[in-house]
Symmetry: C2
Subunit: 469 residues, 2 copies
Amino acid sequence: MSLLDRLTALLGPAHVLTGRDCAPYVSEWTGKYHWEPLAVLRPANRDEVAAVLRLASETGTPVVPVGGRTGLVGGTEAQGRLMLSLERMNRIREIRPEARIAIVEPGVILSRLHEAAADRGLYFPLWFGARGSAMIGGVLSTNAGGSNVLRYGSTRALCLGLEVVLADGRVLNLMSELHKDNSGYDLKDLFIGAEGTLGVITAAVMRLVPAPRAHATAMLAMPSLDAALALLNRLQAATGGLVEAFEFMPRSYQALLVARRPDLGLAFDRIYDVTILVELGATAPRDCSPGPDGTLPLAALLEETLGAMMEEGLVTDAVIAASEAQRQALWARREAAAEVGTPVSGPSVDTDICVPLDKVATFLTQAEARVAALDPGAFPHCVAHLGDGNIHFTVFPTRDDPALEGAMVRAVEDTVQDLGGSFSAEHGVGLSKRGSMARRKDPVALDLMRGLKQAFDPGNILNPGKVLP
Amino acid sequence: MSLLDRLTALLGPAHVLTGRDCAPYVSEWTGKYHWEPLAVLRPANRDEVAAVLRLASETGTPVVPVGGRTGLVGGTEAQGRLMLSLERMNRIREIRPEARIAIVEPGVILSRLHEAAADRGLYFPLWFGARGSAMIGGVLSTNAGGSNVLRYGSTRALCLGLEVVLADGRVLNLMSELHKDNSGYDLKDLFIGAEGTLGVITAAVMRLVPAPRAHATAMLAMPSLDAALALLNRLQAATGGLVEAFEFMPRSYQALLVARRPDLGLAFDRIYDVTILVELGATAPRDCSPGPDGTLPLAALLEETLGAMMEEGLVTDAVIAASEAQRQALWARREAAAEVGTPVSGPSVDTDICVPLDKVATFLTQAEARVAALDPGAFPHCVAHLGDGNIHFTVFPTRDDPALEGAMVRAVEDTVQDLGGSFSAEHGVGLSKRGSMARRKDPVALDLMRGLKQAFDPGNILNPGKVLP
């Protein structure tokens, strides 16, 4: 019996897609990767995943686990491979509000978990543009970040336990709900961010947090990034760490926004060099009810801080959201980033870098100069989770020239390395950044990673060729 | 040249101790383990550590890395082995208050880091009794916990970057200061909690947090653990998560305290079944300055919550610290735990377990019943980081009988396993809990851990025989 016949016997014909039926699965959202998979498999449960992996191991067939396929680095490319889609394993098995946990399957879409948590007055604090498509399995496998990392950490910080099917089909049970567990090596965190190369996540225990019941949100024009960092520090000190998001949109981003999404409008009557979107979130009752003058305590703190900084010349202009609708309108300008940052036509060099907070301005100056030296007409732009030092720095070169694009990537990497940063902050490595891994990662670390891969997946069937150069 | 001669040539005679000079290093604080090391080595820097490990690898000589030797599970036992003491690598290289990080060497004593951070208005939020002796290297290698895990997490959550010397002497550079970095597998977290079996930590980047500038601390008598959990949840909700510590001292603990440390006195005029030490910590200015009536806002919130619960019959009695001296006096009763929980003579069965928060009462009832069935005269007692579900459950059996002690450990483990808990919450595995690892850990997880050990330390020279059964 052929492999596909055996898989069909295992999963049923409706869940082994081939040929044209694979159409929705054969490219990445960015349009940078296209492929023809051997088949798309849609297992219903953990045991089917295990059976598929046993069969793949036995036959040496590569398997690419996929979720919502919203990744940006080619991590789900699957030319000639089996795609293992976890989409049918989409149950939120349990939410226990008292314990503040959700037990979920990998095919749960992020926004469904947001809704389910909200119904219980809780929040799953992982927030980014693709939340309507991204699935928990992919979110875990890429250690996804987003706009709330500043306060709540990346996905790794939000996961208490995992169930994983290994390459040979064995099931690893790490489904702990505990906040403390020192029984041996930290295996859980190895699978988080491994992009499906070490095992397939089939269930997870995720942390929930009390839902912020009041927000204070503002869009600010500021004279410099130094002023922005001063504001962040003052707000953290004034509120005791209640800053939920601190996003930077420079002139270049605003220019693209005006051109691409004129419907969203600008927050100010002109474009400034430094625009910041800041949001505070409160859960304590005393922060959630308006004072005698009708102002929320957090909004009052924000206004007070901004007022003082305006007098010092450190804030140029400010719009504070006075309603949830106004808050959404401010956020819409930030959340258009994926759309706004994609070229209408022509090439694009995308990076997702991280540097220490106080080196963001230096990074931008140096990277832009290096890019201009390579291609004076290139258009560099960015949007940044400034509170994390994480910059999505993108360049539209003037010509479609792979050598030039490669030189630009290396120029950005040089700058990052000089500043003690990372070439991959939150998007992962996939295919796109394997070259960066080879060039920039500590060689001893690479060696250990190869040893890990060999120990966990000796047949190299799990998403082979990804992450490791 | 003999191995010791070569080591002496490498480190200098003053730093290769043998025979009687090893005396301070030959036992564990608990008194449960004694050994005769081959020698105690005291390298001055990373390169000396690397040279020692190269030599150890070449000669197949086992090496036991040690710090302050305050562990409780035999992790530093070193019969016939080289002990590698990191005590001379004790520099706080840098504290950068704006970035809220400290770059430290492994021999830095925890309380020195507390002091250095406090000088800059910051706090290193890892707090436990042995802080005056424990060193950062050991704290990292055991993923130490303590009283502030509830708010700030265990050591793993406080470490941004590491430098590690591997078994073969190669240096792994993971000294990141970044809060986001998705460049390959999470190696850092593997070394944290590995008890020196995968590599020797030679430097670390640790997170600091704003120092709480006001505390509200109280000792409470409560009718039940359910009432205690209700209080924890109400305080977290009322303050927006400012509970720093939530410690449980039952009747058995208080009885020992009275007997052993009468100088400390009791908080109340009698002993209650459930005594809780709770502490709130505030950094926001509005929480740190007294209101018109002279009461701190947090203390007012605490009093209000306690008052309401007293009316509901959920709090029996309360002492709120009115000064720093009173606060210290309340804490002294909790911090005497190590002393109070050690038998004057005779055997002691110690465990360090974790269960979901709402199962602590069930655990205690069941574990005590099982222990009583084995030895009706045994004295079970405990002290607990209740906010984490972490219980230091100890039994003084009536007779010195290894078979009985083993049966008691297994009885406690049975209870823990039934409740979805862990047999090791914060003390680690070392030698003492290798049997528990063999009996209780997922066999697939054990297999992967053995694979990791083989990949990282193929010659099995790093603290061999620890952690893995």
